[in-house]
Structure formats: structure tokens, C-alpha cells
């Protein structure tokens, strides 16, 4: 692969792609002090290592990347060389910016042909896994080469191809994140990890697609496995955890019922009240009153 660098505002090749801030490939033959200081990234960055060994600092953590590794940096995270410079070696990168308003809720923009749910899911999975060091994602090299070719040759259909390849890159990264996180073949362990993720983000409006993707499974298989293992469908299992947490909070004085409803992921206090009463026979307030007396 040859070196190249395309930058938004300077390179006419990027005119059709306002979301691509920068894309390039560099063979770095010598160290220049101060060439890569730590700074806050405004967009999502993906770095792919072709050759060499790179010592970086990502979100305050040291990170050593080797050939075939893919690294992503999220908007708002700090990133730079561990020693303030770029190490010797070859690497390719792309910076993508999407104006969604809130940087913490990044997702692919209108250029992407992913469905709205998939965009959100990909965004959420990357955001929930802030240390984006992915090992041995060799296929990424091919995507970068093709991206470069499409951008410079501008053959018919190149706009669609570039966007497809960018999608492919994000899909590859997301799948690798979930695979790397998932505890191999041990479904009980996978399920425990999911349980912990759900509990940590209980107010989030989880979809089945998102839950399945976060453990690296397709939805059909995921539904079947969860049902077999837990006896519940994924969404019912989630309601189960929501009410469990709500009960704990109702037994503590001080937090009002509406806050409990929203904290535990119900749309409204009405929705909370109906679901709670259906299962327990009590409204949340009655339940709280019953548990407020000394024994």
C-alpha cells in the first residue's frame, strides 16, 4: 500500500463525504519528538496497524498495538503517543464525525445504510466499551485499501462504495468488540455478563437486537438461548430485573416513585405502576407503605 492523506476541506476527493474528517496511510520511518501529543479527539477515530509496534495512551490508559490490531478512539476521549510522538511503523486511519449533537451518544449518520436500530446499537456497543483495542482484525487492511482506491479513482458508484466500506469497517469493529468480550462458549458466563450490563444501564431502553449484539450473537439464536437458559424471553428477563431493582429502591425511603420508575427503565410512572401491580398485586406506593413499618 502506498502512503496517502486526504483531509476534509483540503482534498477534493472528500467533497462527497462530509462525515470523513481525515483518511490516510503513513509509513513512518523516523521518530519526530512532539509529533503526536495527547489531545482530546472530537470525532471517532479508527487506526489500523500494518507494520511496527505503537505505544499509545488512550483515555488515560497505556495501550500497545501490533500489526493487524484495530484501535478506535471515541469522541471526547484523549489520545496520543505514550511518549508524545508517533512510533516507527506503518498504519492507516480514518476519522469520522457525525453531527448528532450529544458526543456521548455517537452513532453513524445519514450516510450509512444501516437501519436506525443498528446504528444505535453499534453506537451503544462502542460507547459501552471505551477501551477500543481490538486484536488481529486482519481484514481491516483490505477495507482501507479499497477505500483509498474508490476515493482516488472515483469510478461509477464510488460514493455508494465508500459509504458501504465505511459501514463495513464499523461493523467489523463492533463484531470484534463483542467477540472479544464474550467468554467463549460458556453461555452461563455470557449471560452473567449481559445481566451485569443490563443492571449497569437499567434506565436505557434496551432492544433485543442490542442485547444480542452486545454478547456477539444473532437475535434468533439469542432469543432461543436466553429462553432455554433462564426460562424468560429477553424482554421479560429485563422486566424482571427492572422490578427487582425497583423493589430494592422502594424499600429505601427518600427516592420518589417517579424517579424510581425512570431509573429502572420504565417509560413513565404509570407504566411502572401498571407493570408492578400486575405482578405483585400492590401499587408501588402501597408496596412502599407495607415495607415501612418496623417489625
Amino acid at each position: 500500500m502506498n502512503q496517502f492523506l486526504l483531509v476534509r476541506g483540503r482534498s477534493h476527493e472528500l467533497l462527497q463525504f462530509p462525515h470523513i474528517v481525515e483518511i490516510g496511510l503513513k509509513k513512518n520511518a523516523s521518530i519526530q519528538f512532539g509529533s503526536l501529543p495527547v489531545s482530546v479527539s472530537q470525532c471517532i477515530r479508527l487506526y489500523f496497524i500494518i507494520d511496527g509496534r505503537f505505544e499509545w495512551e488512550v483515555a488515560g490508559r497505556p495501550c500497545t498495538a501490533y500489526p493487524s490490531d484495530l484501535l478506535y478512539v471515541l469522541p471526547g476521549q484523549t489520545f496520543g503517543g505514550a511518549n508524545g510522538y508517533l512510533d516507527i511503523g506503518s498504519l492507516a486511519w480514518i476519522f469520522i464525525e457525525d453531527a448528532n449533537g450529544d458526543a456521548r451518544r455517537w452513532k453513524p449518520g445519514n450516510w450509512s445504510s444501516l437501519s436506525e436500530i443498528e446504528k444505535q446499537t453499534i453506537g451503544n456497543i462502542l460507547m459501552m466499551n471505551p477501551f477500543g483495542h481490538l486484536c488481529r482484525v486482519a481484514d481491516t487492511g483490505r477495507i482501507f485499501t479499497q477505500l483509498h482506491t474508490e476515493l482516488v479513482t472515483q469510478e461509477i458508484g464510488y460514493r455508494a462504495r465508500v459509504n458501504q466500506l465505511t459501514d463495513e469497517l464499523l461493523i467489523t469493529a463492533t463484531r470484534q468488540v463483542t467477540r472479544q468480550n464474550v467468554a467463549g462458549r460458556d453461555f452461563p458466563k455470557i449471560f452473567l455478563q449481559l445481566e451485569q450490563k443490563l443492571r449497569q444501564n437499567l434506565s436505557h431502553q434496551w432492544t433485543v437486537e442490542e442485547m444480542a449484539a452486545s454478547v456477539g450473537m444473532g437475535t434468533t439464536l439469542f432469543n432461543e438461548r436466553v429462553k432455554n437458559f433462564s426460562g424468560f424471553s429477553p424482554l421479560n428477563y429485563l422486566i424482571n430485573i427492572r422490578i427487582t431493582e425497583a423493589i430494592r429502591l422502594l424499600k429505601k425511603p427518600g427516592i420518589n416513585v417517579t424517579d424510581i420508575a425512570l431509573d429502572t427503565g420504565f417509560y413513565s410512572s404509570q407504566h411502572f405502576s401498571t407493570t408492578f401491580k400486575k405482578l405483585t398485586g400492590y401499587t408501588p406506593s402501597q408496596f412502599r407503605k407495607k415495607n415501612s413499618e418496623d417489625i
Partner: protein, 502 residues
Amino acid sequence: MECIISIELGTNAVRVYAFNMEGGLIGSSKGSYPTFHPVPDFSEQDPEQIFITMLYVLKNFLSEKIYPSGYHVLSICFSASMHSLVLTDKKGAPLYNAVTWGDNRGKKEARTLKETPVGKEMYEATGTPIHPMSPLVKIAWFRNNEQEVFKQTTKFLSIKSYIIQQLSGAYIIDYSLASATGLLNIHSREWDAAALDFAGISGKQLPALVPIANADCKLRKQYQVSLGLGPDTKIIAGSSDGCFATLGAGIMNGNAATVTIEDSGAMRVIGKEILKDKGGKLFNYILDQDYYVSGGPTNNGGVIFDWFASQFGEHRAGFDPEAATADLLMQASQVLAGADGLVFLPYLLGERAPIWNANARGVFFGLNINHERKHLVRAVLEGILYEMYSIGKMLLKHRNIKNISVNGSFGTIPLVTQMLADMFNKPVSASPNVSSVSMGAYLLSATSFGKFSSLENAAKSVTLPAPVIPDKASHDTYSRHYPLFERLTVKLGDEFELLAQL
């Protein structure tokens, strides 16, 4: 039509079974809940999650399977895993996660107590081996390590007591579960003064003791409404999983033993006398006013085979644990008894009976260049069962066991049942019931409705299929290999300690 419901609050899941009055199974349902290990020695569950899961499963089961078929629910009988501990405050709210039987946080407290003469007396008085599993030891751990929580605790409960309290408002514990807390004097049937003193609590902080057939608790009005049950549905206190599994196996005489192997396992006998074990290695738990269930528990049952299958099984068409397990069992059956000289110690989770060593670990011994994967599979199966045999050997010193009944998902695998028969050289019957625990709950419930005149007669109604007959040649092989298993276990005791200290 009338039916009897059994609710098992198990280690990983709640299971609900419905029986007709003749003991026929109408249906069942389950819901799982996770076990958290914030540090490796801790094993905790969320008591509110267990309660909500139980309620959810029961409600759906009743409204989807029981009411549409026209059944009227006469009673709900509870059983639960032993040794759990839930600490609640003065309003009845949990102060901490439930601590399960598998928790080892009290290693130090247990070791200190076990070495004293007081510890020995306490074992004889309470029937519960001195071990981190025991709520006695767990409470002592809280007193030493979580003083704020300990001070705020108004009640020290079992998971079952907590669930029944949520449903009815009453704080109770049946004699069976109470006898597995290490706090109950199994001779006087009162809380043991020395044990209370060691734990640092008073009897008032424990739930009220009731017989297993007690049905004084009433469901709160709101739960009657949400579950669609009337005020006449009896709530039966029930027993522990182990005692019910023994009753449900249909054996109430001294010449028989039951082996249960699910994830973990146990071998038990039943009788009117307790077993006096000098080493404090056998438990003696109360079944009812006349009978005791005695035996030894193992941590390392089917869970070890599942571990092997998930790590080393073949998953050609994606991840499919059942196919992988079936494939491994087939491979194991191709190897003769003795696994060509390969011996496996299954103590991946530490071990309870008979060695009571939380630091014990797994070992493959005797690998040679001709061993293939199938030999390893065979050795794993044999190791799990040698461990069961080592418990059986202790029981054989006290009882003349003539036949064995086996239950549990792992124990009733035909190959496993045959191997058990061969090792013990005794006929082994595999229980046909999906759950011996719930069968025990049915027998107790039906007896309390007058269907049987006594538990002994109720037990006689359980018919076991024709037993598997031991194979002489395999038995001889196992008899020659087993001493090696026992010697390795003893010999490696010091090395397990060293490993734990690294």
C-alpha cells in the same frame, strides 16, 4: 380437579412443579437467577431477584398451564438449597446480597473453630460439619468483617424464610433447613446456646422454628389477587432440597442410599438414628420428628463435566452444549473402565465431603502418549464418581447399604448410572421423576391432606424402575484404581495448600 404445587428455590433457578393428587406430573416451569462472585471466594445472589423471579414464574405457570386446565390449587410447598443466609434490617429489607452454600468467605472462621474442642462439640450438637458453607460460620464472618451490617441486622434468615416472609409476613424456618444452619441443636431441637454464642447473636434474631408440614402462614391478600389463589390455598413450609430428594427417592429404610448428582451432588441415607462420625465429616439433618437424613455433599458433580464439555467438547455447527455433551459421552463409552490408567481428581471447586478442603484442585494423573481425548473424557466421568464413592465408603461403615437410588440430571445419564453400579458393586435404580425434590414435596403435601397415613407409607408409593446390575469385570478394575485416587487425594493435600498460598 385439585393439584399440589411445589416450589424449589434452587442454586441457579426457581422451579415450579404441579402434581395431581395421585402424584402425576401436570407441568413445570423455571426461571433462573444469577450468582455473583465479586471476589472468587464469594458467592452471592440478589434476594429481591429470587423473590421476583419466583413470583413471575409462579404467576405465569398458574395462569398459562394450571387454571386453563381447570385445576384448583390446594397447596404450595417450598423447598430450598441449604445453608443460605439473608440479613435483614428492622423493616425487613435485605442489608446484603444473599450468601449461598457455595460461598467460602468464612474459611478462616471455620478453620479456627474446627480445631477447637468447642468446634467438635458444636458439630455433634448441630449435625452440620464445620465449614464455610454453614450459616453459623458465615454469621461469624459478618461479625468479624462487616460490623456495620452485622449491627444493623435484625433477622438472620435463609432464602426460603425470606421468600415466605415476603409472601406472608411471617418469619419461619422449618426444622430441616434449620438443622443445616449449624445453629440448631438436633437433639433438643432448639437453637444451640454455644453456636449462638459463637455467632454472636440471640435466638430472637432467628426465624421461628416450625415442622416441615406447618401450614399456618397465610398469603397476603395482594398476592392472592395477583396469583389468582384463594385464602384456602395452604402454604406448606416444606423442607430442604436434600431431605426432600431423599424422601422423593422413595427410600425410608436403613439398607438403601440415594445419590443425587446435579451440578453438585450428595450421597445420603435415612434413619431414626444419627451417624456418629468422629472426624466431623458427615452431616445429620432433620427430616421430620422421627427421621434424620445423613450423608456427605460434593461440590464437583455435573458442573465439572459441563466445564470439560464447554472447554474441550467439539462444537462443529456453532455452540451446542447438548450435542457436544452427547458426543463426549459416546467417546467415553468407547473406553474401558479405568481409562487405561488415567486418573482424574475432580476438585475444581474445592471439595466438601469427605476431605473438606476448600483449597483442593483438579488433577489429571498418569497421562501417557497413547491417551486420546476419549480417555480424558472417561477419566473425568470416573473422577466425579470416585469422589461419590469416597463418600459412600464412609457411609458403608455405618450402614449395610444393599441398593442405591440415583437422581439428578447428571446421575441419571445411563452411562453414569452404570458406572455407579460398577463402582459400588450394588444394583442402582435411576429415579424416573423429573425432580426427586418436588416428588418429596408432593409426598409431604399429600400426606398432610390425608392421602397417605404417614411419610413412610407415602415413600412406599414411589416405584423405582428395575435396577442396573453391576458388571463384575468393571468393578474389579475400579477396585484396583480407586486406591490410587484416594492416595493421590491425601498425598496432594500439602501441595494444594502451597498452591493456595502462592
